[in-house]
């Protein structure tokens, strides 16, 4: 074959020598690739799919904005500052917004270490025999409906957590968030019910709910940390933790942040579990151990049914505020992920 080719090229050279005019007309080849019909159809379909999804998504956003604007015009800027919710008079989302954020932060406070440790355990420490079983369990738990966690939190966790809340407020009550009004540590007959239905318990339940999905994402990224660099660290004599810190965690930082942000988004929007556990109050409640909490989603679930057309608009505005927060969270996350070294470079 090679001989054949050489013979060919020699022939061409001779040909070129004979007719130099051909050289002058030689122009750069077009690099555009020919697209055949099925491929063109595929391209159109794919672009169509993307467009449909974007249209649906934009529609949701625009509709929320348009519907919510009626209530926003009435409430004015006080919408963000007013704690009370009375659509016939003054209404605003200060209380529910603060409540949403408190619950989500409590949830992430518990969920991040839980998820990170579980992901590390499964990808680095677990014996090979139980690894796939654990992955299945965690994935399965991410699939368990939130109502089940809500039931568990309401009937099982609340009585368990009450003594812990009591201990926290008794000994750490000087920290503002652990203060509980109406609880006297020196009164032996003090009722533990002041600790029920609190932000703390709701946050713990939401944490358990978001931990599996967060952990699942982190684990997927951790297992993709390059084996060469892992072995390099170990060969340099790093301990297992040294290897994890110098290879797995930097490589998986995108996954850690992405997973946590996804968890935070879920925690912010979680409705039913929170709605079951808390007893709604319409004041800003920074004392996380105290009875009474609220969130935007719980407000919507509480009010939508007997709402007038105007109140629906007000609820839409509240939903829009919640959506904007999650939007900011998500964009912050994707910016951070884009800067960090993520799993996309693993080939």
């Amino acid at each position: 074959m090679i001989v054949d080719h050489e013979a060919d090229s020699t022939a061409t050279d001779l040909l070129l020598l004979e007719s130099p005019a051909e050289v002058a007309h030689d122009s750069p080849r077009s690099l555009a690739s020919a697209i055949d019909r099925p491929d063109a159809a595929f391209r159109v379909t794919a672009y169509g799919g993307g467009s449909i999804v974007v249209t649906i998504m934009l529609l949701v956003g625009i509709f929320l904005l348009v519907q919510g604007s009626a209530a926003l015009q009435v409430a004015g800027p006080g919408f963000l500052a007013e704690q009370n919710w009375d659509p016939t008079g003054k209404f605003g989302i200060a209380a529910v917004l603060a409540g949403t954020i408190f619950i989500a932060l409590t949830a992430i406070f518990f969920a991040l270490p839980l998820a990170l440790a579980t992901a590390l355990y499964i990808s680095e420490y677990a014996p090979a025999k139980i690894k796939s079983g654990l992955v299945t369990i965690v994935d399965l738990m991410a699939a368990v409906p939130s109502i089940v966690y809500g039931l568990w939190g309401f009937f099982f966790l609340t009585p368990l957590v009450q003594p812990v809340s009591q201990w926290l407020t008794t000994y750490l009550g000087w920290i503002p968030i652990f203060t509980v009004n109406g609880f006297d540590p020196n009164d032996p007959l003090a009722s533990p019910t002041v600790f029920a239905a609190s932000t703390f318990i709701a946050g713990m339940v939401v944490a358990l709910m978001v931990a599996p999905i967060t952990s699942s994402i982190m684990r997927e990224v951790f297992t993709q940390a390059p084996i060469g660099e892992r072995e390099g660290a170990l060969a340099l004599g790093a301990t297992k933790w040294g290897m994890i810190r110098s290879v797995v965690l930097p490589f998986g930082s995108g996954g850690i942040i992405g997973g946590t942000m996804l968890g935070l988004g879920r925690a912010l929007g979680e409705t039913i579990a929170v709605f079951l556990i808390i007893s709604p109050v319409f004041v800003i409640q920074p004392h996380i151990l105290e009875k009474g909490a609220n969130s935007i989603s719980a407000l919507i679930a509480l009010r939508y049914n007997e709402a007038s057309k105007f109140e629906i608009s007000a609820l839409m505005a509240a939903g829009l505020a919640l959506f904007l927060i999650t939007l900011v969270v998500n964009f912050a996350a994707s910016t951070i992920i884009a800067r960090s070294r993520s799993g996309s470079q693993s080939d």
Binding site: I52, L120, V144, P212, G237, R245, T271, I300, G343
Partner: protein, 446 residues
């Protein structure tokens, strides 16, 4: 030597001062030791096999010792020294003491990086254990309290139309909710799977400004709270367009919620398909479409299945969009386009809001049924797509072998210029009848 290098690696990250002593350890010098030629060769001792076990006896003794000590110390604290109480408090305090004691014990014979490694290992193990334990307790508690209605067969065969709050558990069931859930999720998946996978493929295969825009919007929508999705459908379909609450409205709400989740996780999975596989397909002359269909999607199959599973699981268990759009009912309703419908989570929610004990028991029973349903779906999905990329069942292996043989036959037939039924286009007449694949232009231009 391990110790020295361990310090060196950690140093780069911590920027701690180097401990100079570590570098002058005798073992460090021993590494460059070479045997002098004239030295007496010691009498050969039979070499004993090195243990490659990663767990040493001393590690276990340390663990058990500090566990026993911490429990003892905490008991003393709780029962004699301080007026503390509560089971959870006991566990927390004893755990803290356990970690401290374990660190202290380890630091007696190990250096700092090793101590740190051991502490992290203990903490990671225990936190992972806590999470798994908590997850199991969720399942066991739900089944424990829901077992009573589950023992009545009517729970699976009847609806709740005849059962009021005071009726015993032998009347009424949740079959209507099972039916409702299945109808809603099927309709939602019928939209989500094709549209979601297509969009994810679009995002990875046609990168550009528009794809970036779509990805941004989808990523933003991942965090769309489910209740807002429900409120959107409630306000558009029910309030504005004037339809009644129905299963179809609920499935639309579930779709709006599920779609971004599926797209986003499918996109992540597709991006992880090794580029060299795709490049190999392109180099063999496959078009974009063929590459996606025969290389990208099969390689990412298990990840895509996981993406769909997680999306479905969220969709099936979501209460809030259904709460707003489906309307609760106690009757059977097989028509998703007319009349209210209910789903399992919504029924659970309605049950446990009632103060009656039997209703709460029914609520737990419904939650248990819901969980079983999720587990079944999960198991099916795992069985279909749970394998890693490239792992085949025996049957798939056989069919691949057969396919490969057919291809081989086809290629050789083509080389010999014999028309086979499998190819539509006739092989072009060539000046050189006998060719090798190297000079074959046929493969490069499909």
């Amino acid at each position: 030597m391990t110790i020295v290098a361990g310090v060196a690696v950690e140093r780069g990250l911590d920027e701690e001062p180097i401990v100079p002593v570590t570098f002058t350890e005798p073992e460090a010098a021993a590494r460059t030791w070479t045997r002098p030629d004239d030295a007496d060769i010691p009498p050969s001792v039979p070499e004993s096999r090195r243990s490659t076990a990663t767990v040493r006896a001393v590690d276990i003794i340390r663990l058990l010792g500090s566990a026993a000590a911490s429990i003892g110390f905490t008991s003393w604290l709780f029962f004699f020294a301080l007026p503390l109480q509560g089971v959870l408090g006991f566990v927390l305090v004893s755990y803290a003491i356990f970690v401290m004691l374990f660190a202290l014990l380890t630091s007696f014979d190990e250096n700092r990086p090793t101590v740190r490694d051991r502490i992290v290992s203990v903490i990671v193990h225990s936190i992972a254990f806590i999470l798994i334990l908590a997850l199991f307790s969720v399942v066991i508690y739900t089944f424990g309290r829901g077992i009573e209605p589950l023992t009545h067969i009517n729970f699976f065969t009847q609806d709740m139309s005849k059962a009021g709050p005071q009726e015993p558990l032998s009347i009424g069931g949740v079959l209507h909710a099972v039916v409702g859930t299945l109808i809603m999720i099927t309709m939602a998946l019928a939209i989500t799977i094709p549209l979601g996978i297509l969009t994810a493929v679009f995002l990875t295969e046609f990168p550009g400004r528009f794809a970036r825009f779509v990805r941004t919007i989808v990523e933003a929508m991942t965090a769309l709270p489910s209740i807002v999705a429900g409120l959107f459908i409630y306000a558009t379909v029910i309030v504005t367009l004037g339809f009644n609450r129905s299963g179809f409205a609920a499935s639309l709400a579930i779709t709006v919620m599920m779609l971004p989740i599926v797209i986003r996780s499918a996109d992540v999975v597709l991006r992880l398909v090794p580029g060299n596989l795709k490049e190999a397909a392109r180099a063999l002359g496959a078009s974009t479409w063929r590459t996606v269909w025969t290389v990208t999607l099969p390689t990412a199959r298990s990840g895509l299945t996981t993406a769909i599973i997680l999306g479905t699981a969220r969709g099936i268990g979501e209460t809030s969009p259904v709460l707003l759009t489906a309307g609760a009912t106690t009757f059977f309703n097989f028509n998703p386009f007319a009349g209210p419908m209910t789903s399992l989570p919504l029924t659970t929610f309605t049950f446990v809001k009632s103060p009656a004990e039997t209703m709460i028991a029914r609520g737990f029973g419904t939650a248990a049924v819901l969980m079983v349903l999720v587990v079944i779906l999960f198991a099916i999905a795992r069985a279909i797509g749970g394998r890693g990329p490239g792992q085949l069942t025996t049957r798939q292996q056989r069919s691949k072998t057969r396919q490969s043989k057919d291809d081989d036959y086809r290629f050789r037939a083509r080389e010999l210029g014999v028309a086979t039924g499998a190819r539509k286009s006739k092989p072009k007449p060539r000046s050189r009848p006998k060719t090798t694949p190297l000079s074959d232009p046929e493969g490069a231009t499909p």
